[in-house]
Every structure is written in structure tokens, then in C-alpha cells.
């Protein structure tokens, strides 16, 4: 028995893709529509590959895990940022419009350079455990203990996959190029929570205590609404803002 409901009639999807190849001097941004016969449990990953294999071999897009865990395939799907690999076409209308995530450098068509942006964010915010002991770590000895609930709380914030959907959905990020976005602020709350990181609030204030950091957020909540991992981004930002306001 299969539990996936059968659709009565197969649909012919009209997938409209925003095309542009910056490597081609003759290319100008345009919308191109492809028709694809929908199949059972078709995802946008399957549909886009079918287009590339049968209709237009030059179509650019990024998939890695195709399982919703690596964050490669963020794109604008009918106006909303989301992960294409785990979007089932049966949940979408016949007309589907796909565009690259805004706020990131365009590589081509649906492919954007989130990696470069995220590396820059990590370098700027120093998203790693700062501890003086790491150079002389004794790895033969028992590990330091940690409260089980605390480890789980840290993981809750660490589940971010840096897909960029929160940045694409952020009003501030669209206006201010240097805004670090919910993804960056979430990193700060993650390391702030981690007792292994020796930085104090004054140090975190140096990193995010300005308009490009936590005070740039306009609380539009797009980040939390669009986060594919359902991270509690708005709560974390509000909490961090309160902390930073009292620190600064």
C-alpha cells in the first residue's frame, strides 16, 4: 500500500525560470518558460534536472544533498524563498516561477554565491569557539562535562544550514548590503550560549552592536517565517538586542 495520494490527471507544469548568465556578455536577464510533465512525488530538484537533460543543457542551478540538509538550493519559488530540493510540485500551482535568491552574487540562472557571503559573515563575526586552552588541549584526558539540556539548546541554534533564505526574506538586508542578517545574529546567540566560548557581551557588542548588526533588524519577521529549519530567529534576535542594548 502506498500512502501518497494519486492525483487524478497528470498536469503539464509551466515552469518559468529567471535566466541570466553573467559570463556571457550577450546575456540579459529574461524569463523563460519550460513545460514539464508532472510525475508522482516530483520535486523541483527532479523537474529542474529534467529540463536540463531534455530541454536546455545550459540551465544553471545548485543542488548537493537533494535531501533538505545542505542549504545549496535556496531560491525564490513563486515569490517565497525556500529549498527547491524538498519542494514537491504537487504542492504548487501549475504555473511555477523560479528566481535566484536576491542579496547574493549571481553565478548564473538560479545559482547564487551564498558560500562567499557566508564565509565573509563567519570571518566578520568570528563564528568559532574562542578559547585560550585550545592550543594545549589534552585530548587523552576525559572531555569536559556539559549539562545535557545546554548541549541540546546549542544544537537547536546550530541547525542553521546557511541556505540564505532568511537573508533573501529580510527587508533590512535588501536595503543595507552590510547587514549580517538573521543567519549571522543567530550565530552570535549560538556562541554566546556556549560556555566553551570565552567571549563576553562586550566582545559580542563589538561584533553586532550597530546598525549592520542587531540594531539594524526592523522586526519584520521574514527570516523566521521563511527559515526552512524553523529556527526561532525572531526570539533570538529580540533577546540579543536586549542584551546588547544593556551592554552598549
Amino acid at each position: 500500500m502506498n500512502r501518497i495520494p494519486l492525483r487524478e490527471a497528470t498536469r503539464t507544469l509551466q515552469i518559468q525560470v529567471m535566466r541570466h548568465n553573467p559570463q556571457d556578455p550577450d546575456s540579459t536577464p529574461k524569463l523563460q518558460t519550460f513545460e514539464v510533465e508532472e510525475s508522482d512525488t516530483m520535486t523541483l530538484f527532479i523537474a529542474l534536472n529534467e529540463i536540463r537533460e531534455r530541454q536546455d543543457a545550459s540551465l544553471q542551478f545548485d543542488f548537493v544533498c537533494r535531501a533538505g540538509i545542505c542549504g545549496s538550493c535556496g531560491m525564490i519559488i513563486n515569490g517565497r524563498p525556500g529549498l527547491a530540493c524538498r519542494t514537491l510540485t504537487r504542492d504548487l500551482p501549475v504555473k511555477i516561477t523560479l528566481a535566484p535568491l536576491p542579496a547574493f552574487e549571481l553565478i548564473g540562472d538560479l545559482s547564487v554565491n551564498t558560500g562567499k557571503w557566508m564565509r565573509g559573515m563567519s570571518e566578520q563575526l568570528e563564528t568559532w569557539v574562542h578559547s585560550r586552552g585550545l592550543d594545549e588541549l589534552n585530548i587523552d584526558a576525559m572531555e569536559a562535562t556539559m549539562e545535557p539540556e545546554l548541549a541540546e539548546q546549542i544544537y537547536e541554534l546550530e541547525r542553521c544550514i546557511e541556505c540564505g533564505c532568511c537573508v533573501a526574506a529580510c527587508g533590512t538586508a535588501r536595503m543595507k548590503e552590510d547587514f549580517i542578517g538573521a543567519v549571522g545574529l543567530n550565530q552570535i546567540t549560538r556562541f554566546r550560549l556556549d560556555p566553551r566560548d570565552e567571549r563576553d557581551d562586550a566582545a559580542f557588542y563589538e561584533l553586532v552592536g550597530d546598525e549592520n548588526g542587531v540594531f539594524g533588524c526592523m522586526t519584520l519577521l521574514g527570516c523566521e517565517d521563511m527559515c526552512p529549519k524553523d529556527l526561532p530567529l525572531a526570539t533570538q534576535i529580540a533577546f540579543l538586542r536586549r542584551r546588547m542594548a544593556t551592554t552598549g
Binding site: 500500500m1 502506498n2 500512502r3 501518497i4 548568465n21 559570463q23 556571457d24 512525488t41 536540463r52 537533460e53 543543457a57 545550459s58 540551465l59 544553471q60 543542488f63 548537493v64 544533498c65 537533494r66 535531501a67 533538505g68 540538509i69 545542505c70 542549504g71 545549496s72 514537491l88 553565478i107 548564473g108 551564498t114 558560500g115 562567499k116 557566508m118 564565509r119 563567519s122 570571518e123 568570528e126 563564528t127 568559532w128 569557539v129 585550545l134 588541549l137 585530548i139 587523552d140 584526558a141 576525559m142 572531555e143 569536559a144 562535562t145 556539559m146 549539562e147 545535557p148 548541549a151 541540546e152 544544537y155 546550530e158 541547525r159 544550514i161 546557511e162 556556549d194 566553551r196 566560548d197
Partner: protein, 659 residues
């Protein structure tokens, strides 16, 4: 051609590559990491259930140590593994996990007091001791005697990769993203780096390095149904093979994971069964105890996958319009456990199946999962044939997995091998052998060769479609070189792959888009993938026995008399359509654990005469050292610590066991 110089070039930005990079960098070497994708998106992030390290903190792990981890791993490998390497690995794994704990991985921890667990289909209450509170906990996995898989919910690989990537950023190690190595630069048995293609602009560059490390993961995408990420096309192994000098080890040893969701093949972790989940058939009967009374659902992956396919072949699967499958039942674990410890599993079921695993069954069927084979290295991670070439992680055949890897041993291998190979490369760079001694003419000639190879594909007016040939390769591998193998079908597979290699020379591209051109990428990768596929199929055809994941229906017994040896494939003639196959023997007389029954699976095997002799020796040494501590006994059986970098040799401290 633009040329970039570095001491160490690491090809691959996953766990193995980044840990090796950090190791070499700490030793003062300049390091550059190349990655097809942003490093944090590497396939390491997909490891869900856990990392094996014998900490023995929680109750299920109590009494665990390196000796038990060693024995489990060797039995899991069906005696195909290099036992020195398994010792090096099991000894270093606790150090690796403790390092990662200090670096920031939020490992799940032991909570003191009572808790409910699910064992063998029913609930039990256990009580964790005070002394273990807050230490790293672990869960049960297949083929192990102890609960040894340390975990971060079911996002273990993700947490490890993010922590390691962030440490690499902290160490100021450049990761050149969206870069693909097309060929290794080499001459006279010495590797000097790689010719690399920029996957944004399509431009070719040369990276000249004293030491080059392949850490590109597995090659599951030569199969049609695989849990692997779509970037796992094995290009690192392929470019090593294409040197014609370096060898690949045990390519026929391919692991199929029991629980790929059906039909998409996306992984749901072995932790589902480790935590108490069951496998059910079409009539919702729990069938594994019928086949494997000892370990049931938690026999090793090769055994469970075979039993599942056997059961489906006997007409006892569940049928759907996609074909037959079985069920994974984790309902009995309860909502709280699923929402806390198996949340990625829950998301995958929701998004890809429309199934809520708290109340519904998950359709599963075995899918290609792991490549035990890869670039053959010695115990230090060096290619024995090509100086200056190193390999680590799934891309390597180091060889700690033999013919079947245990769940949780892969992410553990990545960091352990990274730690060791990072040191090996630094030693090499510091030695006379490591001097940079290469002419620009050599770099140019390799650059020209790659440019011509790509131009030939682009300009070709061939009739073949790269996508069609790729589909045929995958279909052939899935149908004929899968879980159950047979001489006749393997011969057909080898012949088909030879034809595909010839047809591959006649590919015509439909797109000549400037930039990376995805169709061109698919075309040049297919050339390498077909060679890897042929190494798998041809190696499987020649190996006339069944060992671990390599099962020959026409030779169902493990044959220690003829096949205690590792397959080595090389490709000396670029125009050939078959690899050159050689073998290296494993010495039973040097084994700490001589061959025997694994404790699950088939009991019937052909014994080697050395086995009884060596077993007697082992028993005699054991008897003579009856009062000695376990380290002394181990040292007498098979000394290994001298093989490790000095700083990794000390004993590991445990609860109740001082170092």
C-alpha cells in the same frame, strides 16, 4: 596559465579534507583547500546518526574500549581490513571526539538518573550513574557490542562539519570554493598538484603543491539509487586513477544502506534501528529475528541489506506503484524521542514522503551508500605509488573498512584520518622528498592537455547524449553490480561499460554556454565515472568469493584460502576500457584477530591454513599474559603505536580507567 603555489593542496572540503588541512596548517605549512561547493555543504553534513568512539560513558557503552571497537570493526570488515590501521583508528577516535568537543561540537550528553529506552521491541527503564552526568553519550548501532555511536541528535555530520569548517576559518585556511581538480600534475612517480577548473568562469588554473591530498568522498553516483549527494561522483579517485600510476583499492566493496527511503533513496539513519526501531515486511511482520537471531535489525549493514532483499525476492515485501519495499517502524520510540533525537528523519519523511513517522510506517529499501574502496594508501595516508599524493576519508582505501564498514565509523574515520594525514603531509613537506622541484614546462603540458581534452568535448560533433550515457551507466550498476552479484551479469555489466566508454568518446554537446557549462561538466566527469564503474564491476567479476558487502550468488562463501587479499586497480593505458588488476595479500600470521565467524551472517567459510596456526599463537600469548593489563597483551599481539604520530600515542582516559 595562472599558477598558484602552496605547500599543501587539499582536494575536498568535507570533514577529512578540512581536518587534514588544519593539521598541516598547525605544523606551519601553507594550505589551500579546493571544494566543488561551499565547504559546509559537503556530503559530510549528511551523516546523521553518529560517530563511533569507545568512550564508554553511558550505561549501554559501559566497559567499552579500543579492543572491543577494534574487534567489531575487523568483524564488520569480514577480515578485509588492515588490522594495523584499525588499531590506529580505534585508538585515535576517542582523541578525535574530545578534540571536537573542545572545538564546539554540541555532543549529546549523559543525563543522570532514570530514562526509558526501547530494546527489542519493548520499553525498559535504565538508570545512568551520577559519575557519567554531562559526559558525551552514545547510541546503539549495527554490528557493535556496545553503544558506541556518539551523536548530536541526528545531525551529527552537520554539527561536526560546521565546527571543523569554523575552526579552519579561524586558522585562516583559504577554501577555494567551486573549484574542481581535473587532473593531477605528475612525473616520474611524483605528484606536484593539480590542474583545476573554476566552476563559475570555466577558467583553468594550475595549483602547484608539495603535497596533494585527495579527500573528495565516495562515488555513489555511479549508481542509480544512492543515498549520496549528487556531487559524490568520485572525481578525486578518478583523477588519481587517471595518472596511470596510483592504484585504487577494493573498488568492488560497495556498501548498501538498509534504510534508504523508497523510492527517493534518501538516507534515514541507522540510529532509527539503534534506538529501537524495527523492520517490518508487507504483512507488518518483524522478519529480521527469523534470519539473524543474534543481532536482528542490528547486524552489520551488508547482512541486513541482503536479508531485506532476500525477503523482498521471496515475495514478502510491501508493494507500491514504484515497486516493492519494506517498512521501518519507529512509532514505538514515541513522539518525544523522535522530535528530539530523530528530527532530520522526521523532516525527511514529512517533506519527501508525506509520512509522519510518529504514527506511520516509513517505506524503505536498501540503497547504495558508501565506497569502502578508494585511493590506496599506506597506514600514513600516502599513495604507495605516487610520492606527494595522499588521501583521507571515504576517497581513500586506508584500509580500515575492508569489505564492509560499520555505521558511525565513517565520520570517525574522516577526522581520525585527517589528524594523521595532516601530520604525514607536514612531515613530507619538511623532508627532502617534499622539496618543490617542478618545471613550468611540466605544468604547462598538463594544462594544455586538459584544455585540449575539454576542447575536444566542446567541439565534438558527436551524436551521443551525456545524460543518456550517464543514465545507462547508473542503470547497469544498479541492475548488475548491486547487492546480489553473479558472474554472468557481471560479465554483461563489464561489456556494457566498455561499450559506454567507447560511446562516451562520441559525445556531442547541445550547449556551448560561456562559464562553467553544466553539460560540459557532466561530460568530462562521465569519462572518469565510467572508469570507476569499470573498476567496481571488473573487480567484482574477478573476485570469486563473497566477503562483506561483496556477495557473489555463484560463490556464496567467504574464501580465505584464495581471497585474503586486497584488489588493486590501476589504469595505465588511457585508451583501454578495462583497468589493470593486481592483488596484495593480507598476512594472517600478523593479525591480532585471525579470521573467524563474524557473530552474525553466514557461518560457512573456507578457512586458510594459517588461521589455525595464528590462532594458536594468539591463544598462547594471551595465556602467557593472563595477568597483564590489556595494553600489554595487545602490544604483544600486534604492536601499532609506533605507526602513529607521536602526539597520538598515549592511552585514553575513561571512567574507571586512568590513562
Amino acid at each position: 596559465m595562472q599558477t598558484i603555489y602552496t605547500d599543501v593542496l587539499v582536494i575536498g572540503g568535507g570533514l577529512a579534507g578540512q581536518r587534514a588541512a588544519i593539521g598541516a596548517k598547525r605544523r606551519g605549512q601553507d594550505v589551500i583547500v579546493l571544494s566543488l561547493v561551499p565547504a559546509k555543504r559537503s556530503h559530510s553534513a549528511a551523516a546523521q546518526g553518529g560517530m563511533q568512539a569507545s568512550l564508554g560513558n553511558c550505561l549501554g557503552g559501559a566497559g567499552d574500549n579500543e579492543d572491543i571497537h577494534f574487534a567489531d570493526t575487523v568483524r564488520g570488515s569480514d577480515w578485509g581490513a588492515d588490522q594495523d590501521v584499525v588499531r590506529m583508528f580505534t585508538h585515535t577516535a576517542p582523541k578525535a571526539i574530545r578534540e571536537l568537543a573542545a572545538w564546539g561540537v554540541p555532543w549529546n550528553r549523559v543525563a543522570r538518573g532514570e530514562r526509558e529506552i526501547t530494546v527489542d521491541g519493548s520499553k525498559q527503564t535504565i538508570s545512568e550513574p551520577d559519575a557519567a552526568h554531562g559526559l558525551i553519550t552514545s547510541r546503539n548501532f549495527g554490528g557493535t557490542q556496545k553503544w558506541r555511536a556518539c551523536y548530536v541528535s541526528d545531525g551529527t555530520g552537520h554539527a561536526m562539519l560546521y565546527t571543523l569548517s569554523n575552526q579552519a576559518i579561524a586558522a585562516n585556511i583559504p577554501v577555494h570554493e567551486r573549484m574542481e581538480a581535473l587532473a593531477l600534475i605528475h612525473a616520474d612517480g611524483r605528484c606536484h598538484g593539480a590542474i583545476v577548473r573554476n566552476l563559475i568562469t570555466g577558467q583553468l588554473l594550475a595549483y602547484v603543491a608539495r603535497a596533494t591530498c585527495i579527500a573528495t568522498g565516495g562515488f555513489g553516483r555511479i549508481y542509480g539509487v544512492s543515498t549520496n549527494a549528487i556531487i559524490n561522483e568520485g572525481m578525486g579517485a578518478a583523477i588519481a586513477l587517471e595518472t596511470g600510476v596510483a592504484t585504487l583499492g577494493n573498488m568492488e566493496a560497495i556498501q548498501f544502506h538498509p534504510t534508504g527511503i523508497f523510492p527517493a533513496g534518501i538516507l534515514v539513519t541507522e540510529g532509527c534501528r539503534g534506538d529501537g526501531g524495527l523492520l517490518l515486511d508487507g504483512k507488518q511482520h518483524r522478519f529480521m529475528p527469523d534470519y539473524e537471531p543474534e543481532k536482528k535489525e542490528l547486524a552489520s549493514r551488508d547482512v541486513v541489506s541482503r536479508r531485506m532483499e532476500e525477503h523482498i525476492s521471496a515475495g514478502r515485501g510491501a508493494s507500491s506503484r514504484f515497486g516493492d519495499h519494506l517498512w521501518l517502524d519507529i512509532r514505538l520510540l514515541g513522539a518525544q524521542h523522535i522530535n528530539n533525537k530523530l528530527r532530520e528523519v522526521k523532516e525527511i519523511c514529512q517533506y519527501f514522503l508525506g509520512v509522519d513517522p510518529e504514527t506511520q510506517l516509513i517505506p524503505v529499501r536498501p540503497a547504495q551508500h558508501y565506497s569502502m574502496g578508494g585511493v590506496r594508501t599506506n597506514h600514513r595516508g600516502e599513495s604507495p605509488q605516487l610520492r606527494g599524493l595522499f588521501a583521507a576519508g571515504e576517497a581513500a582505501c586506508w584500509d580500515m573498512h575492508g569489505f564492509n564498514r560499520l555505521g558511525g565509523n565513517s565520520v570517525a574515520e574522516t577526522v581520525v584520518a585527517g589528524m594523521i594525514v595532516g601530520d604525514t603531509m607536514a612531515d613530507f613537506c619538511d623532508s627532502q622528498d617534499g622539496a618543490l622541484n617542478i618545471s613550468s614546462a611540466l605544468v604547462d603540458s598538463f594544462g594544455r592537455r586538459e584544455k585540449q581534452r575539454l576542447a575536444a568535448i566542446t567541439a565534438g560533433k558527436g551524436h551521443e547524449s551525456v545524460f543518456e550515457l550517464t543514465r545507462l551507466m547508473r542503470e547497469t550498476m544498479t541492475d548488475k553490480v548491486g547487492i546480489f552479484r553473479h558472474g554472468e551479469r557481471l560479465e554483461e555489466a563489464v561489456a556494457t561499460l566498455q561499450t559506454l566508454q567507447e560511446r562516451c568518446r562520441d559525445i556531442g554537446l547541445r550547449s556551448n554556454a560561456p562559464g562553467a557549462n553544466p553539460e560540459l561538466v557532466a561530460a568530462y566527469r562521465l569519462q572518469g565515472m565510467l572508469k570507476l564503474a569499470q573498476c567496481v564491476a571488473y573487480g567484482a567479476l574477478l573476485r570469486t568469493e563473497s566477503r562483506g558487502a561483496h556477495y557473489r550468488a555463484d560463490y556464496p562463501r567467504r574464501d580465505d584460502l584464495n581471497w585474503i587479499r586486497r584488489t588493486l586497480a590501476s589504469w595505465p593505458d588511457a585508451q583501454a576500457t578495462l583497468p589493470s588488476i593486481d592483488y596484495e595479500p593480507l598476512d594472517i600470521m600478523a593479525m591480532e584477530l585471525p579470521p573467524g565467524w563474524r557473530g552474525y551472517g553466514a557461518r560457512d567459510y573456507i578457512e586458510h591454513p594459517d588461521t589455525a596456526v595464528r590462532q594458536q599463537q594468539v591463544d598462547a600469548i594471551d595465556g602467557a599474559l593472563a595477568g597483564a593489563d590489556r595494553h600489554t597483551r595487545q602490544q604483544a599481539l600486534m604492536p601499532f603505536r609506533h605507526l602513529l604520530p607521536e602526539h597520538l600515542r598515549a592511552n585514553n582516559q575513561r571512567l574507571g580507567e586512568e590513562s
